[in-house]
């Protein structure tokens, strides 16, 4: 069981990360990945994520442990950016490898739902030259409830 959890303050290459992650997974029958990126539109010029060093990465590591206890995974990858980003930039990459595909789908979605609404990140957007903090969305909390 391999878990690779990283908090990055620099851009990353999701294709290269996914290739490296998949390379060793010979016993897995399925690998599911999710890539979250900064969307364009709404006049958004930039997005900034802030984190709190003592809590953010340890929280991501605990989340990975929870996912690996819940589903029989061969490997789990969680990469999350912090810092300044622009439309099209990758924000988060989650990948899960397992013997059967359903465990990978579920674990990847579980990780994403918890990253969105429970991980220690704060987001602000710049539009029209002004920065604005983004408040949590109700729909992200609702997404958590089905995991019990």
């Amino acid at each position: 069981m391999i878990t690779d959890v990283r908090l990055l303050c620099e851009p990353f290459d999701p294709a290269a990360e996914l290739a490296a992650f998949s390379a060793g997974q010979t016993t897995a029958g399925g690998i599911v990945s999710f890539l979250g990126q900064v969307r364009s539109g709404g006049g958004v010029q930039a997005l900034e994520l802030r984190h709190y060093e003592p809590l953010t990465l340890p929280g991501m590591q605990k989340l990975a442990e929870k996912a690996t206890r819940r589903w029989p995974l061969d490997a789990l990858l969680i990469i999350h950016r912090s810092g300044l980003m622009h439309p099209g930039d990758p924000i988060v990459l989650v990948a899960a490898a397992s013997r059967h595909r359903r465990d990978s789908f579920a674990a990847a979605e579980f990780a994403m739902d918890h990253l969105k609404s429970e991980s220690w990140f704060w987001k602000r957007e710049r539009a029209g030259g002004e920065w604005r903090w983004i408040e949590p969305r109700e729909v992200d909390f609702e997404a958590l409830q089905r995991w019990g």
């Binding site: 003592p54 809590l55 990253l115």
Partner: protein, 79 residues
């Protein structure tokens, strides 16, 4: 001295991401030393606290010492 850390939108409310204040013993002492408007913002029940990187259950139970770091964590909005 006590180091206060303001995350997310609280940085704007406080005017800076960090601030050093004179040592205080209780959470109420900390708030009492701040601008009333900022203190009112920080009393929002949705704001969590972390002392030296550990989440605090009940702010009223805090017993603060010189050199510690108290972080104010508003609701998260990541991913």
């Amino acid at each position: 001295m006590l180091k206060l850390v303001f995350l997310g939108r609280l940085e704007d409310a406080a005017g800076a991401a960090e601030r050093e204040i004179e040592a205080a013993e209780t959470y109420d002492d900390v708030l009492a030393g701040l601008e009333p408007e900022l203190a009112a913002t920080l009393r929002d029940v949705r704001i969590r606290l972390a002392l030296d990187g550990v989440l605090v259950g009940d702010p009223a139970s805090l017993s603060l010492r010189d050199g510690q770091e108290l972080a104010f964590l508003p609701p998260v909005s990541g991913g």
